[in-house]
Symmetry: D2
Subunit: 356 residues, 4 copies
């Protein structure tokens, strides 16, 4: 933590800040930098809470120096975490394709989707049984019955079930049917739920809130890890911006940063982000080459009759074509590294050198 | 609901949309407007869910015509709702000043604040016992002990207690101590919690999520009202924008729109929005004359030692001065209407006319 | 400037950063703070451009410590700047009411508005002759003819003319007719225009861009001041956010911060921000008590027939009533300070003490 | 245009709206839809400007039905526009790689970059001679001298020059050196500049403003096309959002929508958007498979010594590796369509069918 003083801060004000740092167990060190005076907080003091020193007179800013999410930080596990879901990995360098309808609507619907996506090579089926909906009057899911259907199709087609848990009350029921517990964007800072899934030993797919910074997402994941559940997958699903042509704005740079900042696997959900079916395939392809460990795609036998989010669901034809693209790009991504690219190489483009 | 067709939509596509509307129980009516073809959906069909018609070929957009939150809509109670909290009203045209620390930290702290604000004429004490915090390592509140302290100061100083309920698990404990249950911004779409407070008969202060549109806030309130609890107060507390000079961006136009769109009382919380103590008083004053039914202000005996949000808490001196301003502006607001301003009056400025 | 090193930065990496700082003329000083290593850049090096040190290995962040807009900074003129427009001040503690139509549409229209607002006590008339419009097909203003009309009404009713300059080409023409040159939000970073108005000696009203941070606005003003024109008025007119219920989001906290951070007068334009006529008056009132030195309000004899922005223009009746409110609140704001509020006073609410 | 009436609108209010529509030359048609009354505006009336009908009593909303940018709309040229720059196409299905430094800094620097990128197969060199900078104190480019250097390297290495034009004053000088005139994000709504480049017959690369919606970008392009210059390339370069971990937020869904909504070629500029060198390559790859016609990448011989934007520039090694990826993905994208994917095909995944 660094305390930046105002340009006109007085000596007694500076001394008061130093005294307070000492009182909290730290050691203050003054640095006259080119554009002002900074007091560095050295020693064993906890950075959280130093923000309030901003209320002392003469203080301009309190700048944290490091992230406070120690468990999710890449440094905690530089080699990266692989979350294995009944034998199928997420985060091992391959690409996990998670597909299915927004909501389980009927036995016929979920069986048709499950059969189709499984034939396309998909191993992870998504589908909501408990649906959190903005309106109290919208379809809220088939609930218990939806969970039973998910269990059935999971068995029938050897699929791993990714389904949302809406609240602590229904957690144990959902956890029984789910292979991966999805915590939705609206629940990203539902701390009771985060702590509860943190006490389980089951993979969690944690979606970024639509108004949440990456740092807040990391902190939310830290809640889960700090309770002992280390199998967390992060998910970018679009953020709120001023642009209204799309439902949300898919932030693919977030995929790149999450991979860099944390050791957790990262999944992208372009369907919810863009909210327009024809725009989903190019964004799924983009997520793959941006480095996502997995992509979530909504598929429905008849999107124009879907009970929720039909506008963004792909038809079977559209999905089959996309699944081939995804596989092909995952292969591209996994191609052996080019031996000609070595650090410290001559600053000529290799092709050009080869041509000489 | 209006279905806007693409400029090049074909007759079979148009017919297919009309057929689907009929299938859903509505009556389609085609209108060739100046800039394209629109199909109006008439009759008794439920607007929710028509969005998926966007997946039919030739459809450009599905435009909802009305809000779907019938219970919170101003039309449901044009005269407005007054929420009365053990004798003290919010929404009656007066100004409810809600003040206190971010969190209850100790008996001494909460008693000092309660005594002081009560002497300043405050009737509503805010203070968190259960604190939802972004970081799992930050101070999470005194919990049960905090509730006991709130009950004690409430009795001692005849204050109404406004305190946050973080989750369904602790709801009954919090509801016993609270006069007003605060649902925080991060929980605005925690639907299990909304339904649970909806089943109680106790006032709820519902904060807008930092990434939530007004329409989503109205829907969240609709969850509470639709469960039978009509005593909801809406609260603007700042939204996420690109500006980083303030913690959030206080959206005072939201206060004006909430009063217009709904019949519920509206409160503003500039402390959390701006996150800088010296910027709080002018924004509190602004909220009063913008028409808020109440304002929330954080006060602490020693902000630079507060366990949370010290950077935005006012000292006692700062608060006393602000409380006087608030009273004075509330009086200004309640002054008798100027009899010279009559609808349809001559288009001259009254003063000017009087001067002639 | 502070260079924050990555937690695992090596000694050679740290040395390389220090060497580079020395090479640029600064003195590096290492500080081991509680959560990492920081290198403070001391001495006479220019902070701008140190950002690129982020490309050296082992560097996590480059944190600027101070604002680089020296001329607009409050510290450059702690007592504040008063911009005087042919005898009428903006920034002297009073309230400048700037009113008029979005665009000059006809002689009849502008004379009717000018006469009316002048009778309401207004001294500053706004009105566009050159209108920058998002669409090339929208009404672009009466141009030269509009300027002539503005000059005529200015003389007739002794009004100061605030009108927008769209580009360098028309600057000299506009400058002849205008008392205050408005630089619009879309031109906030049109640096050629900023430099050109900076070379004139005529007040400039500089609007914040809808996607611009406060710091960028300050830098834009710095362009004008650094060319020698010190008479700049800053204007908040709403920013782009995810909320679509209003046209833009009026950021009144920006008014408070601009007054704090700079010495320039600050004006708010709620009409353009909210874009809904009935929401304008409460937000104008709010801006006054938040500390704005002036407010801009759109008025039109018949808003539903306005050639631009009719949806947000007030009728004459609405404006007359608002003008009274503004005067009344400006008086409230200018009331003598309460002698009972003294720094370091006893921590009791004065009213309460008086009552004992 | 559709006029949505308030639920409680009276008959005289409805009649007044209809009368006004007739007065403007349109034909009103009333539709009682499921959730309210809508008046469709039929016939030859101009949609722009109907917004002001919102000021008539009883009106809830004025909804435009179609975009008003007729020239850039995909419908105007369904097959798409190919912009050919001295023999090299953008928008023909291939991938245009535009690379170079942020600014031209010296003869040595620009020659080294030009030689290197040209050896990597690049045909479009970017580099600024006139640099619009937020701060008046930052490096503003080599200006005239920079243009001379760009001409020289263009000739030497047979590169097409993409360089920014900052204002109308320097347009003719820049146009002489440039093969493609870049209009920067801050100038996207500098209408004088748009009109001026619209009168030339030289390709224009128009960057989206950081606070601009897609619709506003289309309107800005419409300004250029409506002056007769049809060779416009649109460019996504990141938008302002609440996320601060990246400089801007790259909106790749915008690339997909621009291709869908307009017939113009689309380029993405991940360097400026993300502002972090290591995050650039994955986002460039993503842009390619999302369907961009080109990508812009900043390259510098020594980024940590760059005079502007060094933090986001790639080194030569990094760029060479990325250029190979781009070529490889462009080939992937151009692979022949899979003959097995036919519309109306059996709803089985082709691979699965083949396997039976």
């Amino acid at each position: 933590m660094l305390i930046v003083m105002q340009p006109n801060a007085t000596r007694p004000q500076i001394d008061a800040v130093c005294a307070r740092i000492s009182e909290l167990g730290g050691t203050p060190r003054e640095c006259t930098v080119a554009d002002g005076l900074v007091i560095a907080v050295c020693g064993g003091v906890e950075p959280i809470g130093l923000q309030r020193l901003g209320r002392l007179e003469g203080v301009a800013q309190c700048l944290p120096v490091a992230r406070s999410c120690k468990l999710v930080d890449r440094a905690a596990r530089p080699e990266g975490t692989v979350v294995t879901v009944r034998g199928w990995p997420i985060g091992d360098g391959g690409l996990a394709l998670i597909a299915g309808p927004c909501a389980v609507e009927s036995k016929d619907q979920i069986f048709r989707v499950a059969e189709f996506v499984s034939e396309c090579g998909v191993r992870f089926l998504r589908g909501g049984a408990y649906k959190p909906r903005s309106s109290p009057y919208a379809f809220q899911g088939l609930k218990e019955q939806g969970l039973r259907l998910l269990e059935a199709v999971g068995r029938e087609f050897d699929l791993r079930i990714v389904t949302e848990v809406k609240d602590v009350q229904t957690l144990s029921a959902v956890a029984q049917a789910a292979d991966v517990l999805q915590v939705g964007a609206r629940n990203m800072q539902n701390f009771a739920l985060l702590e509860a899934v943190g006490r389980l030993r089951k993979p969690v797919l944690l979606k970024r809130g639509m108004g949440a910074t990456l740092n807040e997402l990391y902190m939310a994941a830290e809640y889960v890890l700090s309770r002992g559940n280390l199998e967390v997958v992060l998910c970018e699903r679009g953020i709120r911006t001023f642009e209204t042509a799309t439902r949300y704005t898919l932030d693919l740079s977030a995929v790149v940063l999450m991979k860099h900042d944390t050791h957790l696997p990262v999944v992208a959900d372009p369907s919810h982000a863009v909210g327009i079916a024809w725009a989903v395939p190019p964004l799924v392809r983009a997520a793959v080459v941006a480095g996502a460990d997995g992509v979530m795609v909504e598929v429905h036998p008849d999107p124009s009759r879907a009970l929720s989010d039909g506008q963004q669901a792909l038809t079977f034809d559209e999905f089959a074509s996309l699944a081939r693209d995804v596989r092909s790009l995952a292969d591209w991504r996994a191609r052996p590294a080019d031996p000609r690219v070595a650090p410290g190489a001559d600053h000529r483009c290799p092709e050009a050198l080869a041509a000489r």
